[in-house]
Amino acid sequence: MTPPHEPSAPTQPTTPLTHANTAAREALHSRRAFLFKLSLYLNGVVGAVLAVPLVGYVLGPAFKKTSSYNSWVSLGPISDFPEGQTRLADFRNPVTTVSDGETGKVACWVRRIEGEKFQVFAINCAHLGCPVRWFEQSRLFLCPCHGGAYYEDGSRASGPPERGLFEYQYKIVGSQLMIEAGAMPTLANEACAKKPRPLVNIESQQPAAPTQQANDAERSSAWPA
């Protein structure tokens, strides 16, 4: 890498300026300018080599596949979740590290429809990720941030969210309810893998049919929605 003519450079004796050595100085100058340029290129190359680990270090988290963070965690025995109810559960995130402290904890909503049929919803609103709260009496999830609302099956009810709640994949192992969790659920990581939507979604397709007041409904022909 070192330029081959290096040693000959500084041995020029300092003599008073004459025409003869002006030309020599010119030549020397052009040689030094060339060497300077060379040093710039050299540093450019070294810089590029150095950039690989630096940039790789900074961008590291971006290159890992989201799904590679996911693993199965237990939410406890299914007997903790009474049928027909929606309960808050929490677990330690499988990807957590020592420095995470309490931020390594995660909450989620577990709805036991019946028997071994569950829905496990992410706590994060599908709008911008605030923690949704379940309201048993009105059978709604409400978001404190911008007022998003979801029905008990997680489908969108109203407000800014453009879709229903994120759902975790679940399975039952022995008597344990397990979910596949890891990366924070967002629109880019919808928590649940592509699976056929459970039957609850079919219900929510139709607007809740009035179960009563048949007479009233008859009487008042369709109102503008």
Partner: protein, 503 residues
Amino acid sequence: MASVNKRSNSQIKKTYEWFDRRLGLAKPLTEAAQHPTPERSASWWYVFGSAATVLLILQVVTGILLALVYSPSAGEAWGSLQFLNHDVTLGWVLRAIHGWGSDFMIAIVLMHMVQVFMFGAYKFPRELTWIIGVFLLLLTLGMAFTGQVMRFDQDAYWGLGIGASILSRVPWIGGSLVHLLLGGPIIGGQTLTRFFALHVFIIPGTLLLLVGLHVWMVLRLGINEWPMPGRIVSKATYEREYHELTEKNGIPFVPDAAWKDGVFAAAILLAVIACALFFGPFGPTGQPDPTIIQTAPKPDFAFLWIYAVLAYLPPDLETPFIFIAPIIIIGGMLLLPLVAGEGEKHWKRRPVAVLMVSVIAVTLAIFTHLGTYTPWSPIMEAWSAEPIPTAYLQHRSPLERQGAIVLQNKQCRDCHALGGVGGMRGPALDSIATRMTEDQIIRQVLQGGGNMPAYGKALSPAETRALVAFLMTLREKNLAPAVDASRSLAHSGAMHVPVATTR
């Protein structure tokens, strides 16, 4: 005595000369300080920039002092802030000054920007000064956002969640961007250290560098002259005109103009200290434990307007809006001096500029105000905390009273106010029966619509009947209930043949 003074004076002078011989800073610094300023520019309108710089220095100093104690670890940050607040001598004052200093800095930077815009100071040859100023504004906001993360509490945690959710909407690379922002798959240890590095190294470093450039250009190009209607900026003549202005009736910046900067900066610092002592530090609110979900996260003051905008955008417009709007806004600010680099400077001759500033200011103010009381958010405790006004229950039938209980138990109050208390997400119900007929109310309750979820599955037939009976009594000032005009027509037989049968 006099000779002693003289001797020590000459001693000081000698030392000074010893240093200046080596530093050589006295001459350029004096020249810079005394650079000629147009006389009318020595105005109280021209003090915001220097005040912003002074606040930046305050933030750097208090920030470094806070870093003596603060622990940038997700497991410890919240505790170290409590420690600062309660155990470290004067720790709370430092936190308060740093927090209020941040709010003041944003306010002053914005005022500076508006003043520069209104006085046309961004025009030739100061275009680049403005462009760097735009980046300084963005960096200042970046400091405010990352600073909010440093206060590692519930708001910070969910604020990061909002940031991550916004990024996740970027097409294709959204997921990677989220992980880049969070430093991993979740909001946790690496997120806080990342934001710590941004808040104490990267952003302030860039900020100081750009402030240096900004000030250097102000010195090089001179302080903007006082605009006059009709005095047109043109690239051909401006520099000569400005030169004449400063040569003829220019005054040295120090001390003739700078005393106002000094007084204003002191007043602002005093205001920061007063707010800090009077209102105390910001938070931290609850600890950053994501399993504590009884929280209504809210951003700091400077970002409340964004929070409000996000609540009002229709779902399908939201993603395009949050990515295109910032590009347009920032792009517009950056391009401004390039497209309007010449012409009139005085605001009287620039009606569009005045209109723009007023519209933007009013819009920001309205959204910020909405952000302070979030009318779009359900009030989660209203159903169990706020009783129905007694007047609404007097002289009511048992069914109607039962309906009032249903209204309360089904959490209708979380979104609907009665007697002025309750959520504001839906309309207040005090006079609902004068606006909607019974049929309309039934339909709305069961099927929802507009911004209301359907309650068909959450109400039994009996509950619905009782609820509607109660709602029908809600007629303020005893106005007549709403009637369905078509029904009376149908009864009177006015609607004969075709209409009634189209079903």
